[in-house]
């Protein structure tokens, strides 16, 4: 996608000068500068935990900077909360939407500043009309009367953006806006951003996705470990250069894989049927196997049975019929513990729901499958020393930051480091089969490279790896064999080396593999 700039380089809207933010002894932002012009799309690029969110929280009034200045329209401002930021025309769209599910789109947008009749009764008609006006003006299709719980994620995001616009914002901060969108919705978002800047709004975009920065931003500020690195014109740099600036070294996008011949079948699934939570059949006779020393990529659009398949495989859900064996051993409809003992370890899709006990310390999370085994416990008493030692070693090996946080709650870690804790645990289990479900979701390129390295390492050791991912790029760069899932069945299979993005896309949409 080509990007057409609407930036007015002579009108500065926001300037952040030498922003420092400390939490105790920890410096989250170390002299960061940022300037934003009218009509500009300014990307902020940094690894997980680099300090992007902190900087944005300073800008929208949630944090007080320890030192430094913020200028809005050339005047220095001091903000004492998000209200002040809104009054100054700064609005933030959070990664996790803050909408009231049973309320309508209109109700959510006007919440807090409802237009009223005689100061008491909400003027529904006026509100609805204003919402429609705004959505038309910026080409954001929403149904003002739909309830949030009934609309798609893409539309929910448009509601969040409208909410900010309704409050008169001229600067919009979008935090990881594409994290949960489908490719089509991402295209629509890019168009919305274009419409906004055409109208003189400025946009700050927080993202890890270099492709998107290239596609829609004018400038990009790079932050690394809390420090300001530099600001570049996006048109002057390529993706590799940006990635290198972000992590401070060259990043290898190509995954190095040695040639391997797959060995015996490890996981064998035959004619598997299962229902989803509504009781509708979602797996309809699925057949799949994974052999030693290969990564099988399961690709498909979300909602075609991937979630249920992984739940059945890991023992969280009961299937209706079919068979599943691990190295010849029956694991059909067993408990999670039995499946684990049979040789299945798993990186769950939702790291906060299934992967970690966030209130537990990092060291306790690392032993969650082994707490009742030596050396971590003896006769029912935990051996704290061994647990700490295990954590120190794994955190070093898997580069979990910050070091020395073994006893701190896992919830304090950034998303990427939380994922590293899970990877450390599951890879160290070193089971016959590793199931990885969206293992790099929400991670930056440095962390993605890291995760990929460990998946390939398991394969190279002769383990079987089942990669379930909604990221086609990830599937294509890692898999030895790609299986396409559509409507609860495997509808096609291609060797990883021969994979073609267009053809996979066609198959994912339900088309059969072409004959040529």
């Amino acid at each position: 996608m080509s990007h057409q700039s609407h930036m007015d380089p002579n009108t500065m809207v926001i300037e952040m000068r030498d922003i420092v933010k400390k939490f105790g002894d920890f410096t989250a932002n170390d002299h960061i500068n940022l300037s934003l012009h009218k009509g500009e799309v300014h990307a902020i690029l940094g690894e997980n935990g680099a300090g992007k969110s902190t900087l944005m929280n300073v800008l929208c009034g949630l944090y007080h900077p320890t030192s430094g200045q913020i200028l809005v329209d050339g005047k220095e401002v001091h903000m004492n909360g998000p209200r002040d930021a809104i009054d100054l025309g700064i609005g933030m769209v959070h990664q996790h939407f803050m909408l009231i599910q049973p309320f309508t789109v209109t109700d959510n947008i006007i919440l807090g500043i409802e237009p009223t009749k005689a100061g008491v009764v909400i003027d529904e008609k006026k509100a609805r009309q204003k919402v429609l006006e705004l959505s038309e003006r910026y080409g954001m299709k929403v149904d003002p009367d739909a309830k949030i719980e009934d609309i798609s994620v893409g539309m929910q995001q448009r509601v969040e953006i409208l909410k900010v616009l309704y409050r008169g914002s001229k600067v919009l901060i979008l935090d990881e806006p594409t994290a949960s969108l489908t490719p089509q919705e991402i295209d629509e978002l890019m168009q919305i951003i274009d419409n906004l800047t055409k109208d003189g709004k400025s946009v700050i975009l927080i993202t890890h996705k270099l492709k998107e920065i290239k596609a829609c931003s004018d400038t990009c500020t790079v932050i690394r470990q809390g420090k300001y690195i530099k600001t570049v014109n996006v048109s002057d740099v390529n993706e590799n250069e940006m990635a290198a600036m972000m992590v401070g070294r060259d990043v290898n996008f190509k995954v190095e894989k040695k040639d391997m011949t797959p060995g015996d079948v490890v996981l064998d699934i035959r004619d598997l049927h299962a229902k989803d939570y509504r009781g509708i059949e979602i797996l309809r006779g699925l057949n799949l196997n994974v052999r030693q020393g290969e990564i099988v990529g399961l690709c498909g659009v979300d909602g075609n049975g991937q979630t249920e398949l992984v739940e059945v495989l890991t023992g969280l859900k009961k299937a209706e019929s079919g068979s599943i064996t691990m190295m010849g051993q029956d694991v059909y409809n067993k408990t999670p513990h039995e499946v684990f003992e049979a040789g299945v370890s798993s990186i769950p899709a939702d790291r906060q729901k299934h992967g970690l006990v966030l209130d537990f310390s990092i060291e306790d999370n690392l032993i969650v499958q082994h707490y009742d085994e030596a050396p971590f416990s003896k006769n029912g008493i935990l051996n704290r020393e061994a647990i700490r030692k295990n954590a120190t070693e794994l955190m070093e090996k898997f580069d979990v930051r910050p070091r020395g946080a073994e006893g701190k709650p896992a919830g304090n870690l950034s998303g990427g480091n939380q994922q590293k804790v899970i990877i450390a645990r599951e890879v160290t289990n070193d089971k016959e089969l590793l199931i990885a479900f969206n293992p790099t979701r929400g991670l930056d390129v440095g962390a993605i490279e890291f995760v990929h390295k460990y998946l390939v390492e398991q394969r190279n050791k002769g383990r079987a790896v089942l990669l379930v991912s909604f990221e086609l790029d990830e599937i294509m760069s890692l898999s030895d064999r790609i299986e396409v899932i559509f409507d609860g069945e495997i509808t096609g299979s291609v060797a990883g080396a021969d994979a073609d993005e267009k053809e996979l896309g066609f198959m994912m949409a339900g088309g059969k593999k072409s004959e040529n």
Binding site: H337, F340, D359, D364, G380, I381
Partner: protein
């Protein structure tokens, strides 16, 4: 600066603050009632600390609420809400009383059998609710509250059974056998000059230490906490969630049942027909909250509650209503519950000062 910040962060500080505010609000009510707070609080302090025997009495009052406090604290730490400690306390005291009257065993053994019976009764009472939760998905808070009332009427029914009802009439049971009592030895009791001095407090301290070890040091505690904090992740890691939940509820119920045994075998020596729920289980919630759900903390918050109950009972001597104690305790809980608000306010004031 650092130490000041440390104080502002510590929960103990807010607990002490909440207690002080509780007393201040209690004072307001005393003034409204036309009683000098200085006199009333003076009496309160006097009646707890002025004589060694008063302090022993305080510990006697503390023992059952330490147990119910432990029961609730244990449930908080393992992710269930045992609001049914009241009912478990009642069935515990009933079991201890019935075994104490009907069995004839040698001293010490008899008492231990009674205590065991109380623990089992409390445990089972709680497990029924646990099974309703795990098998049928019924929220434990609802069934616990109903089971409190079932236990209450069950006690009134059992008290009136001819086999254990007092021969000479009155709405109480026979006294339990002397062998079943957990009173201190005669000589020691006489030198302490306290007719109710019993081993209850010692048992309570031992129980608190055992519960502390279970929660902090054992694989069992690890497992129960994992399920309590994040059921999904625990299940995903292969922990049997339902069994863990039942274990947690069972232990919690046993603790409340033990509280009932301490009161029956230590203090009253028999059961009376109830006109209202006695509230030991609900007081346990207060004790657990003041202790921040720390089992060792329950010893101290239990003593505090015991002192308030014992001292409060003497307030009528200065014509102050003893209910003022309940007002104070209620306020303490409210202010502990909103201590997060204080924390935010204080830390932001601290910050502002630093910036200015």
């Amino acid at each position: 600066m650092k130490t000041k910040k440390g104080i502002l962060d510590s929960n103990l500080f807010y607990t002490v603050l909440a207690i002080m505010i509780g007393f201040c609000i209690g004072a307001i009510f005393l003034v409204i009632a036309g009683i000098s707070p200085a006199v009333a609080y003076g009496k309160l302090i006097d009646s707890v600390f002025s004589k060694p025997k008063y302090m022993v009495w305080t510990l006697v009052y503390a023992a059952p609420v330490i147990f119910t406090g432990l029961s609730v604290a244990f449930s908080f730490r393992t992710g269930v809400f045992n609001i049914g400690a009241e009912g478990q306390y009642i069935v515990g005291s009933v079991a201890a009383c019935v075994v104490g009257i009907l069995f004839h065993l040698p001293p010490v053994v008899h008492a231990l059998v009674c205590i065991l019976a109380a623990a089992i009764a409390g445990c089972l009472w709680s497990l029924i609710v646990g099974i309703l939760k795990t098998k049928r998905g019924i929220h434990e808070v609802l069934s616990f509250i109903m089971f409190n009332w079932i236990a209450y009427y069950l006690q009134n029914y059992i008290v009136n059974l001819p086999a254990i009802h007092k021969q000479s009439g009155g709405e109480a049971t026979e006294n339990v056998a002397d062998a079943a009592r957990i009173l201190l030895p005669e000589g020691l009791m006489r030198s302490l000059d306290c007719s109710g001095a019993n081993w209850g407090f010692v048992f309570a301290v031992i129980a608190a230490i055992v519960i502390y070890i279970i929660i902090e040091k054992t694989t069992l505690g690890y497992q129960l906490k994992a399920v309590g904090f994040n059921k999904n992740a625990a299940e995903f890691a292969g922990i049997n969630v339902n069994r863990s939940m039942l274990t947690a509820l069972g232990i919690s119920g046993a603790l409340a049942g033990l509280g009932g045994a301490m009161q029956t075998l230590g203090m009253s020596g028999r059961l009376s027909q109830l006109a209202a729920q006695e509230g030991f289980g609900f007081e346990g919630i207060t004790v657990a909250l003041i202790a921040g759900s720390n089992p060792l903390g329950c010893i101290f918050s239990g003593i505090f509650y015991g002192a308030m109950k014992y001292g409060g009972s003497k307030l009528t001597m200065v014509k102050a209503p003893s209910e003022v104690v309940n007002i104070i305790m209620g306020c303490v809980i409210i202010f502990i519950a909103i201590s997060q608000v204080f924390k935010t306010v204080f830390t932001s004031i601290g910050k502002k000062k630093k910036e200015a």
